[in-house]
Symmetry: C2
Subunit: 397 residues, 2 copies
C-alpha cells in the first residue's frame, strides 16, 4: 500500500510542477539513516547511504541516481521508473540525467519558511554548486517550498482515509483514559498507561515519546511541549492531555480536557465551565471561517480575539497546524504573524488541507483548558474529522 | 545516564574547541521531529520545535536559545547551563547571546564530506545569513566537520562500555541464529526470527528494519544494502548476515558467515573454505596496521589488495566505518579514495576510534563470504571488541 500511496503522490507532484511551471524537482540526500529529508517517505519510500538524487519531472518521469549497492533495493521498492546506479561517484550519472531533462528551473528542498521543504543540508547544497560550477544549473535552482506546501497540503482520498483511521484509534484511547483517571495517579502514570495501549495495539506515537502524550494536571503545570511529571491528580484539578499516533505513516493530534470533582461538587465550578466553553466556542467560530482562499492568520485571529475578549490571555502558539505524514505538516499555518512562523500564516488555505484547531487558556487555580480537534478543508468550508469535545469530561473523586 | 553522557561529551567538545582554536560551536535547528541534526542526541538531548540554537563555547559555557514553550522541558533535560527562551522570534535573544561571546570563529554543522557534521539545512543557513546580515558574523562561519569528527570519533570510556554491551548482545543473537538456520528456511524468516529476538529483549535495530538484518543465502543474491527475500536456504549455500542493534543509544554492526553442508559432505568445499580464510586473513592484516596517525585508505588498501592478489574481485565499498551513536559514525573512514567518500579516507585515525572491518568476496556458485568485526583504536594499535569469527560456521542439512 505504501508503494501505491507514493506513486499517487508522485503523480500529484508532476501536476503541481506543471501548475507552478517548474521542470524538475530534485530531492538530494545521503546517509538517510543519520538524517532524513522529510520528503523522502512521501515521494521515494527508500533509504540512501551515498549521495542520491530523486528527480520528478513536469512530464511525470522519475529518475533515481543511487549508489550501485542500493540498486536491488530501489528496484524492489519500485517507486522510480529510471534507476541510474553509480559505483565511485554520482558524477558518473548526474550530468547526463539532468542534461536529458534540460530543465529551465530545478526545485531543491531548501526553505527559510518551511522545515518540511528544507531537507537539503547546506553541505549538500555546496556539493551541488561544486558539481555544477561549470554549468548554468546553479542559476536555475529554486526553492521547492511551494511544491512541498501544495503536495503535502492537498491530501488525496487515500491519505484522508489513513488520517481518519488514526483519529478514530486515538479517540478510543482517550475514552480509556477517561476511565483510568482518578485522584492520586500521576501525570507519568497516565502517560505510561497511554503508551502501553499504543504499543499493545501496534501503533506508533506521532511525536517524541518524552511528551507524547503530554499530560497536565492542575494549576501551574509545566506547559505545552513538556513531558509528564510526578505531579498527582487531585480533586479540583483540570486535566488535559495532548496526544497523537501514527498508523501506516499518517498521524493524528488531539487534545481533551477533564475536570476532577471535589467532594461535594456535582458540577465543575462556574469559572472552569466558563473557560472550557470559551475554548469550544472559539473553535466553532474559527472553523466557521476556515475555507480555501483564506490565510491562516485570519483564522487564528478569530479564536485568539474571542479568548481575549472573554478576559483570558492569548495562547502563546498558533491556533493550528496541518497534519499528515508529519504531525506538523504542509505549508499554511493557522498562526499569528509572529516572526518565528515565517510566511506560513500568510499562505492561502487550500481544499484538501487537514488542520488542527487547538486554542488554550488558563483557568486560574484550576489548570489549563484545551481542546484540539482535526478538520478537513473542503471546497467551501471545513468538516470536523474528529468527533468534537463540547463538554468537559468529568472525573469523580 | 543519558544526561551524564551528554555532559561528558559537551566537556570534551569544549576541549576540542580549544585544540582547534574555535570560540563557539552552534547547532541551529527547528522542527526536529521532522528532521534531526545528527549531533542533537550527543550534545543536546532535547528536541526543538521552533528555531533553536545550542551553543558550546571554548571556555565550556553552554547556551540554549529556544522557544519559550520548551523552557520547562529544557530545564528538566538539564544539559545546558544558560537557557534563553523567546516568544515571537529568536532575534529577541540571538544577538545578545552571541555578542556576549564575541566569537572570532563560529562553527556550524555544514560539511560536504561528512553527513554527521552536515545537520544544518540550507534554509536555516540562509536564515542565519539574513539575521546577521548587518554584522560580520557570517564571515566567521566555519564548518564544524573537524570538531564533529574528533568528538564522535574519540569515544569516552562510558561510550566504549555501551558499545561493548551492544556487541555482546548482538553476538548472542548470532549464536541463536546458528541454531535456527537450516535448509528450507527463507531469508525473510531468518530476518523475522532476529527482529523478534531484538524486540523481546527490548533493543532497537541499529539501522532500518527493511535490511537490518540483511540476510543472503547462496549464489547470486541481491547484494549488500538489500532486504531479505523469499529465497530459501539450500545445502551448498554460503549464508551471511549483516546485523546490528542499538542499546542506550549506542550501536553494534557485525557480520557472520555460515556454510550449509550438502548430503555426504563432512566439510565445506575447498573453494568455500579458501574464500572464507582469505576474508579472515585480510582482517588480520588490516587490523595489524590500524593505529593512530594512519589514514583510512592505507588500511583499506591492505585488505583490498590481499583479496585481489588471491584472485577475487575487490569489494564495492569501504573496508570499514566508525560506529557509535550512529552506525556510520565519526569522520575518518577505512575506505578507498573514491570520490563518493569525499575526504574521509584521508583523515587521520585517532585513539578512541571504533571501526568495523568488513571485507567481502564472492565464492562463485556458493555465495558471499563476509565477516565484520569491530575494533577499538588504542595508543599504538587496535584491539578487537568483538570475539572474532575465524572459522566458517557449519550448518548440517
Amino acid at each position: 500500500m505504501q508503494k501505491e500511496l507514493i506513486l499517487e503522490k508522485i503523480n500529484q507532484a508532476a501536476k503541481i510542477l506543471n501548475e507552478k511551471n517548474i521542470d524538475m524537482w530534485m530531492t538530494y540526500v545521503r546517509e538517510t539513516g543519520n538524517m532524513r529529508d522529510p520528503m523522502l517517505d512521501m515521494i521515494v519510500g527508500a533509504n540512501a547511504t551515498w549521495q542520491s538524487a530523486f528527480i520528478i519531472t513536469k512530464n511525470g518521469d522519475t529518475h533515481a541516481i543511487i549508489g550501485s549497492l542500493e540498486l536491488e533495493n530501489m528496484k524492489s521498492v519500485g517507486t522510480y521508473k529510471n534507476i541510474h546506479p553509480y559505483l565511485k561517484t554520482i558524477k558518473e550519472k548526474f550530468p547526463d540525467v539532468i542534461e536529458s531533462i534540460k530543465p529551465n528551473k530545478i526545485a531543491l528542498n531548501y526553505s527559510v519558511n518551511s522545515s518540511l521543504a528544507d531537507g537539503l543540508t547546506h553541505g549538500l547544497y555546496l556539493d551541488l554548486l561544486e558539481q555544477f560550477k561549470e554549468t548554468d544549473y546553479p542559476k536555475k535552482f529554486v526553492s521547492s517550498e511551494d511544491i512541498v506546501a501544495a503536495l503535502r497540503g492537498r491530501k488525496s482520498p487515500s491519505e484522508i482515509k489513513l488520517i481518519k483511521e488514526a483519529i478514530a484509534e486515538t479517540l478510543k484511547i482517550f475514552d480509556e483514559v477517561t476511565k483510568f483517571l482518578k485522584p492520586g495517579i500521576t501525570e507519568k502514570q497516565v502517560a505510561a498507561f497511554v503508551q502501553n495501549l499504543v504499543k499493545e495495539r501496534g501503533f506508533e506515537l506521532a511525536w517524541d515519546g518524552e511528551y507524547c502524550p503530554s499530560v497536565f494536571t492542575g494549576p501551574d503545570t509545566a506547559g505545552a511541549h513538556s513531558g509528564p511529571t510526578d505531579r498527582a491528580i487531585e480533586p479540583g484539578h483540570i486535566i488535559n492531555m495532548d496526544f497523537g499516533i501514527k498508523i501506516n505513516g499518517y498521524c493524528s493530534d488531539l487534545q481533551r480536557t477533564w475536570y476532577v470533582l471535589k467532594p461535594g461538587e456535582d458540577n465543575p465550578p462556574e469559572e472552569v465551565t466558563r473557560g472550557f466553553n470559551v475554548i469550544v466556542e472559539s473553535i466553532t467560530k474559527a472553523a466557521r471561517e476556515l475555507k480555501p482562499g483564506k490565510e491562516g492568520w485570519e483564522i487564528d485571529q478569530i479564536a485568539r480575539n474571542y479568548i481575549q475578549i472573554n478576559g483570558y490571555d492569548e495562547f502563546p502558539h498558533g491556533l493550528g497546524h496541518q497534519v499528515g505524514r508529519a504531525v506538523h505538516d504542509g505549508g499554511a499555518l493557522l498562526g499569528p504573524k509572529w516572526e518565528r512562523y515565517g510566511n506560513l500564516p500568510t499562505l492561502k488555505i487550500e481544499a484538501g488541507n487537514v488542520f488542527t484547531i487547538e486554542p488554550r487558556l488558563t483557568v486560574d487555580k484550576y489548570g489549563i483548558a484545551t481542546v484540539e480537534e482535526m478538520v478537513l478543508v473542503n471546497s467551501d468550508g471545513c468538516e470536523f474529522l474528529s468527533e468534537r469535545q463540547k463538554e468537559l469530561l468529568i472525573i469523580k473523586s
